[in-house]
């Protein structure tokens, strides 16, 4: 991925840029409709659009288990949880819209395979136990990033993240309940849970991205508070919170090379294959094509409905 610094647009008024950067440095936030450098707008849209895309595509692995949920309570809880994800997408596309993109365009880009969404949602949810892993670990991973970004500089995004984090917390609690039932269940249930954890481990480690290169681009993202914490910081946060849960229930951490280094107050882990992450990032993951095709099929099926609504609105 090209991380080169986007050239400053000639239209970026240096006085306005200086004022803008000073405001951010003093901890201020930017509201919708205010002046911003084009590069800032570009990066903010990219971040928020990918987040919105991920919420929509994130619904797909879990929704497969709604019809199969093994109790009425789980059926309700899972439906509500996936509903929340779709709702988050709605909130996030609206934020991206305030930066100048049309929701229709962003959605078309996504379903036509021209946009990106987080790696974890390109993988299969093979068993009911995958639901527990997704709700605890995948949502837990997302929480690290989302929590940090609550102090990002774009106010509409920060506001929406507050609400998203509040709801995501419920999801993790619900996930822990499913996790507990399986971890404390029959030998088959425990085995199913361990197997799911094994399959999801690498995508989880990948989720936070490669350790950041020191570059002018990264520096600017941090200075502008579009990036708040480094990839490695977030990954370590995630491991600190979630590895103990695995151990508490007597399950095995899938990476035999993972261990806590007391002196350095961090986890060391087996370096994952970053090429896999790059492939998935190009929509070449195990389930990418299938899920995009499914979403695209519905998008096309609904074209007449969109048209009818447009005509109705214009009447």
């Amino acid at each position: 991925m090209d991380q080169a610094l986007r050239p400053q647009e000639p239209q970026d008024d240096p006085e306005q840029l200086a004022r803008f950067e000073q405001r951010i440095q003093s901890g201020d936030q930017i509201e919708a409709g205010e002046w911003m450098p084009e590069a800032y707008r570009f990066e903010a849209i990219r971040l928020i659009q990918m987040h919105a895309n991920s919420e929509i595509m994130g619904a797909l692995p879990e929704r497969e288990w709604i019809p199969r949920a093994p109790t009425l309570a789980r059926k309700l809880a899972l439906t509500a949880k996936v509903q929340d994800e779709v709702g988050h997408a709605m909130l996030l596309y609206r934020v991206a819209e305030t930066l100048g993109r049309s929701r229709e365009e962003m959605f078309a880009e996504l379903v036509e395979g021209r946009a990106r969404f987080h790696n974890v949602f390109h993988y299969p949810a093979e068993t009911w136990a995958d639901v527990a892993i997704i709700q605890v670990f995948v949502d837990g991973a997302a929480m690290q990033t989302q929590g940090a970004l609550r102090s990002c500089s774009y106010a509409p995004y920060a506001r929406v993240l507050k609400r998203i984090c509040y709801e995501e917390d419920f999801h993790i609690q619900l996930g822990l309940d499913v996790w507990r039932s399986l971890a404390e269940g029959t030998p088959r249930q425990r085995a199913m849970l361990q197997d799911a954890l094994n399959r999801w481990w690498t995508p989880l480690i990948h989720f936070f991205g490669m350790p950041d290169k020191v570059s002018p681009h990264t520096e600017r993202m941090l200075a502008w508070r579009i990036k708040v914490k480094s990839n490695e910081e977030l990954r370590q946060q995630f491991l600190r919170r979630f590895v103990p849960i695995i151990l508490e229930y007597g399950l095995v951490v899938p990476d035999p090379g993972l261990r806590w280094v007391e002196g350095e107050q961090r986890y060391v882990y087996t370096e994952p294959d970053w090429e896999e992450l790059k492939r998935v990032g190009r929509n070449n993951g195990p389930k990418s094509a299938e899920r995009l095709a499914l979403r695209l099929a519905f998008y096309r099926q609904h074209a007449w409905v969109r048209e009818a609504m447009t005509q109705w609105a214009a009447a």
């Binding site: 509201e31 919708a32 409709g33 909130l91």
Partner: protein
């Protein structure tokens, strides 16, 4: 653009720059509460906006009534004009007693008026 009064080079008010099908949603949590902006929905018309707002914004939060209005109809003062709102001189003549005491009374009165027992 509105009347277009400008002082210096800066515009002090404008319409929100939103697509026509975006509706701002205002939610009244309990009777006697004010309606508060909780977010927006896309909808072809007001009735559909209300129908959609119910489940998109009131499925967890308490709600008695909802308002919707096209976001494009909303006018806003600009960030540039924010300075105008900051008091420059002593305006304590507006408040009974100290400013701090006034804030305390205001806040607690608001809380009292929204106590559940009153509903």
């Amino acid at each position: 653009m509105g009347g277009g009064v400008t002082v210096g080079a800066e515009v002090w008010e404008r319409r929100l720059d939103t697509p026509r099908d975006v509706w701002a949603v205002f939610l009244q949590a309990r009777t006697r509460d004010p309606h508060v902006h909780v977010g927006d929905v896309h909808a072809p018309d007001a009735e559909m906006a209300l129908v959609l707002a119910k489940e998109n914004y009131a499925r967890r939060d308490p709600c008695v009534t909802l308002w919707v209005v096209r976001a494009a109809e909303i006018h806003t003062t600009t960030q540039d004009a924010a300075e105008m709102f900051e008091p420059a001189i002593d305006k304590s003549y507006r408040f009974g007693g100290s400013y701090r005491r006034q804030q305390q009374v205001y806040r607690s009165a608001w809380r009292l008026s929204h106590r559940d027992e009153d509903q």
